[in-house]
């Protein structure tokens, strides 16, 4: 594209192009994450999951989307019509806005803000207005309780998750999402190895922020029917739904960028070329992985019971083959193109791995109760995050003052933090006999 347009115009056109791509692709992506979620759930629960619409339910998200769009749009009589209409829009707009600063590849970023991380956190926190307004505007007790729970939960866990993130920020020395990834490239290590406990705290906090099980109290089906979404239906409901999954991808993107090396491939700083060529050994990995998936699809295709299912399965295999071809072709293109395409691959791979953990937790753990959730947040995660922060800072200082390996110092810091964690957990067991509810 750089050959077609002068750089000054490209600087304006490219972000718009990226924004359009993200807004267009995201709903589809969210739909397919739902399919993956249902498939993973089915796998863990000894059943098959969606199988009817398309082979292995591959067209299910599209059918669901069409169904939601065609559904009757109900606004309860006694609802506050304006706010009822506005609330899901707030949620989904804020969730989409946060993508502006997320670097999917070294060049694939709508805006490289120097306060990128702060921007994402601020904007995605604003999404809570959508939930609170929606819960209030519905004029239903279930919705109101769901909204109240959501607000309290977000305030508590945003703090812990933020403190977890700061430990990685200390190492990066920048708030720009792009610079954070580049810092990991320069230091030759993903920050998760320096601050694993920071990563853990962020992970727990992010599950709570996105209202996923075991912290899905605002929409706890067995208690509050559907929480703040109880009175919503059809398209408005699907906006909330989209916002929830968009937020999941956002928090996964933040974790990927700060802790898992963003768009970098594993061992990004080591360069081992294939003998006789300039192609790096590890750069061949993405195309081989996708090729494997393609072959598996072709292996499954003849086993499908219906002809059309065989065809669609073969098409899925073909699609994977094309992707593998593109990934392989990038190896021979210019380094910028290679980084762009493979960067997006690795970024999405890490994001989906992170989301897989979300799903795994959801199907394994029972739900916390509100007071227990608050106790976990305020009396375990936040103290732990503070200790982790101080320990990491001390490790950094020690490296600067006395020299030596940072990894060694951070290991020591982690050991200290872990000891504190065990102490806090033990302490919590003793205290848990006393419920702390009144006055909260």
């Amino acid at each position: 594209m750089s050959h077609l347009l002068p750089p000054s115009i490209l600087r304006l056109v490219l972000p718009v192009f990226y924004a359009v791509v993200i807004v267009a692709v995201l709903p589809l992506l969210a739909g397919y994450i739902v399919l993956v979620e249902r498939k993973v759930m089915a796998d863990m629960q000894a059943r098959l999951g969606p199988m009817r619409v398309g082979p292995h339910g591959l067209l299910q998200p599209i059918a669901d989307a069409v169904k939601l769009l065609l559904k009757e749009d109900i606004i309860p009589d006694k609802a506050d019509r304006l706010l009822f209409w506005l609330a899901p829009l707030v949620s989904v707009t804020m969730a989409l806005l946060a993508y502006a600063a997320l670097p999917i590849g070294p060049a694939f970023q709508i805006a490289d803000l120097n306060i990128g991380l702060l921007f994402i956190l601020a904007v995605s926190s604003l999404g809570i207005y959508g939930i609170v307004l929606g819960g209030w505007a519905s004029n239903s007790h279930y919705s109101l309780l769901g909204a109240l729970r959501s607000a309290a939960q977000l305030v508590s866990y945003e703090t812990a998750a933020g403190l977890g993130l700061i430990s990685a920020l200390l190492l990066a020395g920048s708030l720009s999402m792009k610079d954070i990834v580049i810092a990991q490239y320069d230091q030759g290590i993903w920050f998760i190895f320096y601050v694993p406990i920071g990563f853990f705290i962020y992970m727990v906090g992010s599950i709570a922020e996105t209202n996923r099980a075991p912290f899905d109290l605002p929409e706890a089906e067995s208690e509050l029917v559907a929480g703040y979404m109880t009175e919503y239906s059809g398209f408005r409901w699907s906006l909330y739904f989209l916002a929830e999954y968009a937020n999941m991808i956002i928090v996964a993107g933040i974790a990927t960028t700060l802790f898992l090396g963003g768009w970098l491939r594993p061992f990004a700083s080591s360069h081992t070329a294939l003998p006789g060529t300039s192609i790096e050994l590890l750069d061949a990995l993405p195309s081989l992985l996708v090729l494997g998936v393609a072959l598996y699809c072709f292996y499954l295709a003849p086993k499908q019971p219906v002809k059309i299912q065989k065809m669609v399965m073969a098409m899925a295999g073909g699609l994977c083959l094309i992707i593998a071809g593109v990934l392989a072709g990038a190896l021979f293109a210019s380094p910028a193109v290679l980084q762009g395409i493979h960067g997006a691959f690795w970024f999405l791979a890490k994001v989906f791995t992170y989301i897989y953990f979300f799903l795994w937790f959801r199907f394994t753990f029972p739900r916390y109760r509100f007071d227990q959730l608050m106790r976990l947040g305020w009396r375990f995660l936040i103290p732990l995050a503070l200790v982790n922060l101080i320990a990491t800072a001390t490790a950094l200082l020690a490296t600067r003052e006395w020299g030596g390996s940072l990894l060694l110092y951070t290991l020591l810091a982690d050991a200290v933090t872990l000891a504190v964690a065990i102490f806090l957990a033990k302490n919590d067991e003793v205290d848990s006999a006393v419920p702390v509810m009144d006055g909260e």
């Binding site: 000894a46 007790h141 006393v434 419920p435």
Partner: protein, 380 residues
């Protein structure tokens, strides 16, 4: 801070803020009221100040129907009360009528009845475990539980052709002889089932969240439990060792060795532990019984037309949910003059308010689940 549980919650914060208590109607259409129970909750924030169970949405007049059917004709109706434990309902009714007739089923019939009833107890407890876990937010155990329950239902289907409302027994014994391989099926299930229970326990018993959600929730003291007439696992979890299978043996229970699990505190966790252990004990009973089913007739000689002598009888059995009693009055005709059922779910549900007061909305669903009600039986 003193323990606010079980005491009147303070209204200080709400009066300062000028907030009112809100009334929340849970049900009759709600994901976790197990059918059409409606619970009216008075809430201060999320804390339950007062609760009221409103029932009757599934009333079908089962007891009245009995007055217009012959004794045999009424037998299938009892299956529709606790429809997840139809076999137990049938056993109670058949034995009650047999007692009224002054007869008893042959020993072979009684042993087969014991096996099927114990399998039904396991199936009922599995359903309870799955839905209870689902209410508390664990999505997966319910599918494992249904997988094993399916095996039990397959045995029922092979025996009498029905899976849910089985009508497995007849007054005086059994309609059908056991099928070839019945003992092996039962034994195979029991042997597999042992480590399946371990599987559920790995998912739940040691889980911090599960323990946090169930320990200390919905405490029912032994005195309260007795005063409210609560029976079954709910009573035993409060520390009262009362099980009709031991206390007043019926069917063939006096022939087998098994333990009555009890716990002390009477909270939701204790009830969970008691039911898990009961499944293990039921498994042992099935194994012992399937080992040696005595030969002999399966039907007592009672004739085709049943005309019990005038009089009345009360007979109760230990159904999966508690004491299931039948009080039958005969006026000497072919139809009962009155049938009164003492359903365990209905009476155990009376303890709900005691357990729920002062707890949180999230606990309410845990408490409904832990009482293990079936609305078909509550409303009849």
């Amino acid at each position: 801070m003193s323990d606010p549980r079980g005491t009147e919650p303070s209204n200080v914060s709400s009066t300062v803020l000028g907030a009112d208590e809100i009334i929340l109607n849970m049900g009759p259409q709600h994901p976790s009221t197990h059918g059409v129970l409606r619970v009216k909750l008075k809430l201060d924030g999320e804390r339950v100040v007062d609760s009221e169970c409103i029932i009757g949405y599934l009333h079908r007049g089962v007891e009245k129907i009995a007055e217009h059917r012959s004794y045999q004709q009424f037998a299938p109706y009892v299956d529709r009360m606790d429809y997840v434990a139809a076999v137990s309902n049938g056993l109670g009714y058949c034995e009650a009528v047999e007692k009224l007739l002054g007869t008893e089923a042959p020993i072979r019939a009684r042993v087969v009845r014991t096996i099927l009833t114990e399998l039904q107890r396991i199936a009922s407890h599995l359903l309870w475990l799955g839905t209870h876990a689902l209410d508390i937010g664990a999505l997966t155990p319910v599918f494992y539980c249904f997988r094993e329950r399916e095996e039990i239902l397959k045995i029922f289907e092979k025996y009498c052709g029905a899976r849910l409302t089985t009508h497995a027994f007849r007054i005086g014994g059994l309609q059908y002889e056991t099928y070839d391989g019945f003992e092996q099926d039962v034994k195979r299930f029991c042997e597999d089932f042992d480590h399946k229970i371990d599987e559920y326990e790995t998912l739940l018993t040691e889980n911090r969240i599960w323990v946090g959600r169930t320990k200390g929730v919905g405490i029912l003291s032994a005195a309260d439990a007795i005063a409210l007439g609560v029976t079954g696992p709910v009573l035993r979890a409060s520390g009262v060792k009362w099980d009709l299978r031991k206390a007043m043996p019926y069917a063939a229970y006096d022939q087998y060795k098994f333990e009555i699990p009890i716990r002390e505190t009477g909270d939701t966790f204790d009830r969970y532990v008691v039911r898990m252990e009961e499944m293990r004990q039921s498994r042992l009973i099935c194994l012992q019984a399937a080992e040696s089913i005595p030969a002999g007739p399966i039907m007592a000689r009672i004739g085709k037309v049943l005309k019990p002598p005038p009089g009345e009888v009360y007979h109760s059995i230990e159904a999966p949910k508690g004491e299931l009693g039948y009080y039958i009055v005969s006026d000497g005709t072919t139809q009962p003059y009155r049938v009164r059922v003492r359903p365990p779910s209905f009476i155990n549900l009376q303890a709900f308010d005691k357990m729920a007061r002062g707890s949180l909305v999230a606990d309410v669903v845990a408490i409904i689940g832990t009482i293990d009600i079936v609305l078909g039986e509550v409303d009849r």
